[in-house]
């Protein structure tokens, strides 16, 4: 029998944190003279009440987690935060249904960035800030999960990022805790730097903070319907490019950088591959645009860099409707959605290291075809990849595609047209944000979709964010047997 008490205990702590987080938007609303502060106070009170109740009733002496409890906790914490984070949306006067509220909240906490709100420009500042805060919390949540939880759970190849400590988890914990708190500070710092840059480039203080939070988290929520395209400001767009890319690099390397290990950031193979892919893609698209669409080269570089990095890192800002750029660009963006950034960053998707592992494996496979009895070992980051890790990554890739397929079919059953279903599924599982096509493309929103489709997409976002296995393992009968 699984002991739920430590799980609910931690959930209680998370809910209390969440309720405190709702204070910021409440304040913003009071300052702006909006009535919504009541909504936030009410939601905050609810969260606080439930959280404290959980803490008091589920308090246990030791907080040590078995593997099963860890899995359950991971999934439950994200689901619970998404649910309670939906309260302000549900109570507000935006007229959002419960489905819409959960969708928006899930899209926030998973740093997807798909929205069902149609008139962002007129929305009260509290809600806009809450969306940004959700994504910001989601961003740091991903990093913490990637550093501390997923390697231990050995999900989808993440065991390759195990801290080089011993196998005994007690000894690993203090080091992990240390690293995690240091990274949280770096995350804060980076966000502050980003906000300042935005402000210097021309955004208002509020916009700068709101966008900085969703940029570094590679989430993509904006305070305007037209996203970053609203500002029509080159400098702002370049700031965004820099900080979206920054959000896509492994945060552990920033820690090394701060500690004086300057070269590790540059020499890391994931980082090199990431920039390699980005550079190639940008070059190809710019050449295409200049040659075929006759766009001036300076504009083209800016547009392509912004939108491509936005899609690859799963941020999801838009400056123009890239659906109008022509079919080649659209197809590139479709496949780019799956790529993602580096492991240990705020991004999603398959992640660069998995592509590296897949590639290393296929090279060995081909060599083995010619020499069936030869021994070929794939390498990642100059170290050999254990067979278990390879299988883990390869299986992850398979499940990822299967989940994408299943979600597309489900959305199709709900009546969405082919492009909307397929791009919506891809966007949800890869936590990108906008889809393709006239409905959910960069110029649209998810508002007109049927409720069932929104629930499916919300589940898809959770599945993708938690790297599939973490959620799927809960669905196996063996998990619940003792």
């Amino acid at each position: 029998m699984i002991d739920f008490r430590p799980i609910f205990f931690v959930l209680g702590i998370l809910l209390v944190t969440l309720s405190l987080g709702m204070g910021g938007p409440a304040l913003a609303d009071v300052i702006a003279g909006q009535n919504d502060w009541q909504v936030f106070m009410g939601s905050s009170a609810t969260c606080l009440f439930v959280g404290v109740a959980l803490i008091l009733t589920m308090r246990t002496e030791r907080v040590r987690f078995t593997l099963r409890q860890a899995f359950l906790l991971t999934t439950l914490s994200w689901a619970v935060i998404a649910l309670f984070g939906a309260l302000p949306f549900a109570f507000s006067d935006l007229g959002l249904s419960f489905t819409d509220a959960v969708f928006e909240s899930m899209s926030g906490i998973t740093t997807t960035g798909a929205t069902v709100i149609t008139k962002l420009d007129d929305a009260p500042p509290g809600l806009l800030l809450w969306r940004a805060i959700l994504q910001w919390l989601g961003g740091i949540g991903i990093i913490v999960m990637a550093i501390s939880v997923l390697p231990m759970l050995q999900v989808g190849g993440m065991q390759l990022f195990h801290m080089e400590s011993t196998d005994q988890s007690e000894k690993a914990l203090p080091r992990v805790a240390q690293v995690t708190s240091a990274i949280i500070i770096i995350y804060f710092g980076l966000s502050a730097l980003c906000a300042t840059s935005y402000w210097l480039a021309g955004m208002s203080g509020f916009d700068a903070v709101a966008h900085a939070m969703t940029t570094v988290a590679t989430g993509g929520y904006s305070t305007f319907d037209q996203s970053v395209g609203f500002f029509k400001n080159d400098a702002i767009e370049w700031v965004a490019v820099v900080f979206m890319a920054a959000g896509a690099l492994p945060f552990v390397l920033y820690l090394q950088f701060v500690r004086g290990n300057l070269l590790m950031l540059v020499r890391d193979s994931q980082v090199q591959t990431f920039f390699g892919i980005v550079f190639c893609a940008i070059t190809v698209l710019v050449v295409w645009q200049v040659a075929v669409d006759q766009v001036p080269i300076g504009t083209s570089i800016r547009l392509v860099a912004f939108n491509l990095i936005s899609v690859i890192t799963g941020t999801g800002y838009a400056t123009t409707d890239f659906g109008l750029w022509g079919e080649f660009s659209v197809t590139v963006f479709f496949f780019a959605m799956f790529i993602g950034g580096c492991a240990g960053s705020t991004t999603c998707g398959l992640k660069i290291f998995r592509l590296q592992v897949l590639y290393a494996n296929t090279r060995c496979q081909i060599k083995k075809l010619m020499q069936p009895h030869g021994v070929f070992i794939p390498h990642f980051n100059r170290r050999p990849i254990p067979a278990a890790a390879s299988e883990s990554v390869l299986s992850f890739f398979f499940l990822y595609i299967m989940a994408f397929g299943a979600l597309s079919i489900g959305l199709g059953w709900m009546g969405l047209d082919f492009i909307t279903a397929v791009s919506g599924a891809a966007s949800a599982i890869a936590n990108v944000g906008p889809g393709l096509g006239p409905v959910i493309g960069p110029a649209g929103t998810y508002a007109p979709l049927p409720d069932a489709a929104k629930w499916m997409l919300s589940f898809g976002m959770l599945l993708g964010r938690l790297e599939l296995f973490t959620v799927l393992v809960l669905l196996t009968p063996a998990f619940w047997r003792t």
Partner: protein, 483 residues
């Protein structure tokens, strides 16, 4: 050093056989007084001549010995070679086809894909129509022989599990293998004959019956009419087609086993069960959808759903209706079904059910391992253990498939195709299915309006899919040519 002699010798034999085959359409055209008999005779002469030259020039003494590298090169060269020469009749005819068109049609034939760039099939000379069907017929048996004899040897994409339980010494073509191949070829011809007779009894003309039989059993999908099976109104023809497409999509060695005293071998095989299970589920879902969404009556809905689902999953590619008009779920379903495929050791293409069985077993094992990381379990499919090397081989195949699909789609987009045409065209080519989606290459359209570059890309995609990717990729590595 690669010994090219046996390779070119065998290619020569294949080309000679191809040349002889070209005489069949020539005869048909001569009998119907169509001037095209000259085209076929001319092509036959060119092909036969080249074949003979190769045979004579590379005739060696002693037995043929093929090492691993030569086997790879032979596989690729024979398919490329046959494709090029098979394009000659298309090129020489007065259909005004460009080289890209002719090669596309030939490759689509020999890989049993079934995508066509021809319009106005109903009024085309009989020779051309027969040639298309013959190509698919040849392609079908070629695939089976390749799957049974060659791919397990080369350990391509998990196929080593299907190695004949004879010797492990790969160089020998054992008598057992030869016997198996002979029996399967006989069965293949038998099925085609049975299919042709059934079609004829059900109402097709003899010419139509033979042509469609050739492309049904080979799960190719070429038809003698633009409207494909929509032209034939009777339900009987459709149900016969469904039955024979299924036959073409099931492992042929099981049929041999049935003949040798184990009549229910086909139904006991787990791959067949999965195959039929997937089909049933898909047919039910699509049928329900079109009943609810399109208001079609139950009987017709089941027939329409069954025909088109079986057609796509067995990678045949006939269409009995424009299912692109059936609404969102149907379109998504047909798109995803394009990737599934039939059983291994059949004429079908795409991923193939067996690989999904392995992937599912491995993924389940991965999930189980999350909870108990140090337990050693070996996943099993049909009682056979999936060793690490087989598992990784199949997992890699899946990645190759996805990668090739993406690369082909991107290339197609570069030539100006819209997203739906690009990703469905890529999927259908790499899976050797036939129709794509959308108004251009959907079930109601064809590939003629695509730019030439796109046709070349699709041709390459079809070959990559048919040859299971690595067979071609291995030729692109520098270490293949060194030694």
């Amino acid at each position: 050093m690669i010994d090219i002699r046996p390779i070119f010798f065998i290619v020569g034999i294949l080309l000679t056989v191809l040349g002889v085959c070209m005489l069949i359409p020539a005869a048909v055209d001569a009998l119907s007084d169509d001037a095209d008999w000259q085209v076929f005779t001319g092509s036959a002469v060119v092909t036969g001549f080249t074949g003979n030259v190769l045979i004579l020039a590379f005739r060696g003494t002693g037995r043929l010995k093929l090492r691993l590298r030569e086997a790879f090169l032979l596989t690729v060269l024979s398919w490329f070679g046959i494709a090029c020469f098979a394009a000659l009749p298309f090129l020489f005819s007065n259909l005004n086809l460009s080289v890209a068109d002719a090669v596309f049609e030939a490759i689509s034939g020999i890989t049993t894909t079934g995508s066509t760039i021809l319009t106005g099939l109903d009024s085309m000379p009989r020779g051309i129509l027969l040639w298309r069907s013959l190509l698919q017929g040849i392609g079908g048996i070629g695939i089976i022989v390749m799957a049974i004899a060659l791919l397990p040897l080369l350990q391509v994409g998990g196929m080593q599990l299907f190695r004949m339980e004879s010797s492990d010494r790969s160089e020998k073509v054992t008598p057992r293998l030869r016997q198996m191949t002979a029996e399967i070829s006989a069965l293949y011809l038998g099925f085609i004959a049975a299919c042709a007779i059934s079609y004829w009894v059900a109402g097709m003309t003899p010419f139509e019956a033979v042509n469609h039989a050739l492309t049904t059993i080979s799960t190719g999908g070429y038809s003698t009419t633009d409207a494909s099976f929509a032209k034939f109104q009777g339900a009987a023809v459709h149900w016969l087609a469904i039955a024979f497409m299924l036959i073409g999509g099931i492992t042929f060695t099981l049929y041999v086993r049935s003949l040798h005293g184990d009549p229910f071998a086909v139904f006991r095989d787990s791959q067949v069960r999965w195959f039929l299970g997937i089909l049933t589920a898909a047919i039910a879902a699509v049928a329900v959808w079109i009943i609810v969404n399109q208001g079609i009556d139950v009987g017709t809905a089941i027939r329409l759903a069954a025909f088109n689902v079986v057609s796509i999953v067995t990678t045949t590619g006939y269409a009995s209706a424009d299912y692109y008009q059936w609404g969102s779920f149907a379109v998504c379903a047909f798109y995803l079904l394009t990737f599934v495929g039939g059983c291994t050791g059949s004429t079908a293409g795409a991923m193939k059910v067996f690989r999904f069985q392995v992937l599912y077993a491995v993924a389940s094992q991965q999930l189980a391992r999350l909870l108990v990381p140090h337990r050693v379990t070996v996943p099993k499919v049909e009682g056979r253990e999936i060793t690490d090397s087989v598992a990784i081989s199949v997992l890699n195949f899946f990645f190759f498939y996805a990668f090739t699909f993406a690369a082909v789609a991107l290339c197609l987009a570069m030539f100006g195709l819209d997203l739906v045409t690009a990703i469905s065209g890529s999927a259908t080519a790499v899976g050797n299915v036939g129709p794509g989606l959308g108004p251009v290459i959907g079930p109601a359209g064809n590939f003629s309006s695509l730019p030439d570059g796109a046709k070349w890309v699709l041709s390459l995609g079809m070959l990559l899919g048919r040859l299971e990717f690595v067979t071609i990729f291995v030729l692109l590595t520098p270490s293949f040519w060194r030694d």
